[in-house]
Symmetry: C2
């Protein structure tokens, strides 16, 4: 089929204004937050389930790759159209179809932003727990594609625990509907969670039923400083073993503390080798007791101080240390490598120590912070990608980091996903037989391999 | 292959004492709690992952059906060997492989009972949330196969939310490992949750990593009586909309109250048309406030009284009303039909009213109770299966119940599963295209259809 024929076909489905073909127009839809770029031949902006279905059917017939895209905030290249073809930009599908507060769910189109969900849910005193850093801008469809979470996952789980059902189109153009509108349901196989986290390689989500959670009455922030990562790790395990699970339990290592310290207005205790930021929820009456319970668990021989914010102003100051990190890192190393590994919480300190050794061995500055309650650590290698020798060292260092993570019974990604960045490492974590089953499942959804090809699973050697 | 040849092959894998072939021995492994029965040609008791693998491989080669079985407490016939073949009884695989309190997980063999898990976890002040009524006896493998839950699901979710990873063998004899040892992980497709709830039709679970939850400090029971189901339904929606989510929120309708009333020692207020049993968790200090918050949500114009248990003794008395139900029902109708449907909580009262109408229309006594917070109602049709005319009426009545559930955006099963009982109704809930995808997924796991054949999915017309 010629490009003209295809254009004719696509334009029967969507208005011509919603089809980009000019490379200058397509350019901006070729990258995400991974610094990778690919140039699509088409960027198409569907508005409905049916339009997506018909576009996929054409692409399937013509064997054209199709890459679904939310807002391009991913960090793994999963939305980069490396093989050209169609980028299906879902950003204009931003309708909230239904809010049902009595049944605590919301039905949304994939292009609705996380923030729009929170705002709409907030009117009824609900929220949707997944809260990636990019929440103000990223789309729900993207959150679901990656199973993206954030600090609140420690208490409330990831999208897999916060989605009731989906409507989607497979790579063969089949319309499927899975899941339920209730918080229980065991009819059929669980395709909902299979599609969540599949990075657009199985089906394109056209509608999601999100489970909403009642907002807590009040929250308070604790900042706990420790002399070393061992003491912080011990505190994390103790906090997670008692019933007042915090709604955030964030970790910063020594290097991260030094960085944060350098920012204005942040006042951290001297000698702190590790820091925890802990958010505790409660009612006006129970909060103090909840805080005391968490403080007790957080306290051990290596605790330097535990400060509770007494006001919103103070809470902001405490969070400032954590929030100061990203700008500080960007200033220091605009093109840093930001990893997203997970280790069991009891291995947090061992992991941090091993990272310190690797930093020395490879002469690379490594800064670590992340979601300690889940053992999800963002390992930041402050390298200059324009320096090939340093990048070679970084590559070897990353390789060893992944080996350590797997030795510790961890996993290579907690919330950023695989995309292109980690595709070639996956077979270290998942054995070939299990990968074989995954590939066969992929084939059932997408027999011609048009949906986000060459992402998520390792390439098959030809 | 002759039966003798097969015996030789099986006996190379497991000791002869662990192979039953005599029909009198096999008989007791032919039924579950559905009153259905089938006679297996073989009952085999594996002890290890490898034994299961090798048995499946033989069955796959010889095209012999293989039905995995925990303790046979299911209610849908899912473990009944309707086509003969092998019943793989996992009851002797009852080893707890590992308890890791610091990382809040436990690795168990499929034959470990739910109670054994609770006891082992309890030593470290943890519990595993799924709590079906048969918890004292049922196996974890069975809980996972059905995604069985119980009262605590309202706060803590079902097995899908409480399992981190699995080891399993597909119907082709492939050994797979999926999931992680951490509370986050997005590498590969989510096979863990796909296998959970698949009723042994995709793979046989040989090892499960269970996510443990810290036990609450204290709990208290509230019993709230309402003049009608509408008021109770309103209360359920209000309770679930505030942040103190109860750890149980059970419902009893008017008929259930009358039944419970008839039991000794149960003292219910007169005029109660619906009852809620509410369990609230907290610390010694926060509990009272939590109770007040839930009470406030539970109170509306139709509330007759809300009683809080002031002691363990009183709590027992309050639960007595709920617990008295099952024996009372068994006395009344030993062969009752016990359904397990789910409706959105805002439709609870409408549903109960429609059931009252159906009871009149079909002259069948219907008693309803269940997990109100999830909208999961056990609809009990008190019929005599030995009376064919009554059974015919019951069949028509059930048919209408299912239609109502689906009209209300509910689902046909919340926790009991499909098995044989609901297999022929599934295509009313799941469309044919989606069912087609499910069937193709089944084929990837079990190409020769030996794993629990003719269960879970509708039969394909030939």
């Amino acid at each position: 089929m010629t490009k003209n024929d295809l254009f004719t076909q696509f334009s029967r489905i969507v208005d011509k204004e919603r089809i980009y073909t000019d490379s200058s127009d397509c350019w901006a839809y070729g990258y995400d937050n991974s610094r990778r770029h690919g140039l699509a031949e088409w960027v198409i902006f569907p508005l409905t389930h049916e339009e997506i279905r018909d576009i996929i059917r054409i692409c399937n017939q013509a064997r054209i790759p199709i890459v679904p895209r939310g807002r391009g905030t991913g960090t793994t290249g999963a939305t980069v159209p490396t093989l050209g073809g169609v980028v299906l930009s879902l950003e204009r599908m931003n309708t909230i179809y239904k809010i049902d507060p009595a049944n605590r769910f919301m039905v949304v189109a994939p292009g609705v932003t996380n923030q729009e969900v929170q705002t709409a849910a907030g009117k009824y005193s609900f929220f949707w727990p997944p809260d990636p850093t990019s929440a103000a801008f990223c789309s729900v469809g993207g959150n679901l594609a990656y199973n993206s979470a954030g600090p609140k996952a420690v208490k409330y789980g990831t999208p897999r625990e916060n989605v009731l059902g989906l409507r989607a189109i497979t790579g063969a153009g089949e319309e499927i509907r899975c899941g339920v509108y209730t918080t229980k349901g065991v009819v059929g196989y669980d395709l909902t969670r299979l599609i969540i986290g599949s990075e657009g390689t199985l089906a394109i989500i056209t509608e999601a039923t999100l489970k909403l959670t009642p907002r807590p009455d009040v929250t308070q922030i604790l900042r706990a400083a420790y002399k070393d990562p061992e003491s912080a790790g011990e505190a994390v395990a103790a906090i997670m073993s008692q019933p007042i699970i915090p709604s955030a339990l964030e970790f910063m290592d020594h290097q991260a503390i030094i960085l944060a310290q350098g920012q204005g207005g942040v006042n951290l205790p001297s000698g702190a080798g590790a820091l925890l930021m802990i958010e505790v929820e409660g009612t006006n009456i129970s909060l103090n007791d909840n805080i005391e319970k968490v403080k007790k668990a957080a306290k051990n021989a290596g605790t330097i101080e535990i400060i509770a914010a007494q006001s919103d102003e103070e809470a902001k100051k405490l969070w400032a240390a954590r929030k100061a990190l990203s700008p500080a890192l960007r200033t220091l190393a605009p093109k840093k490598i930001n990893e997203d590994v997970v280790v069991p919480v009891s291995s947090l300190a061992i992991f941090i120590r091993k990272l310190e050794n690797l930093a020395q061995e490879f002469s690379i500055k490594i800064v670590n912070f992340g979601h300690a309650g889940n053992g999800n650590i963002h390992v930041n290698l402050l390298v200059n990608p324009d320096n090939p020798i340093e990048m070679e060292r970084a590559k070897s260092c990353l390789d060893q980091i992944f080996s350590i993570v797997l030795q510790l019974n961890g996993t290579l990604s907690g919330e950023h996903g695989v995309g292109l960045e980690k595709r070639d490492f996956i077979s270290r974590e998942i054995d070939l037989v299990t990968l074989g089953v995954m590939r066969r499942i992929k084939d059932q959804f997408d027999p011609n391999g048009i949906l986000n090809p060459e992402k998520k699973l390792p390439l098959i050697e030809k």
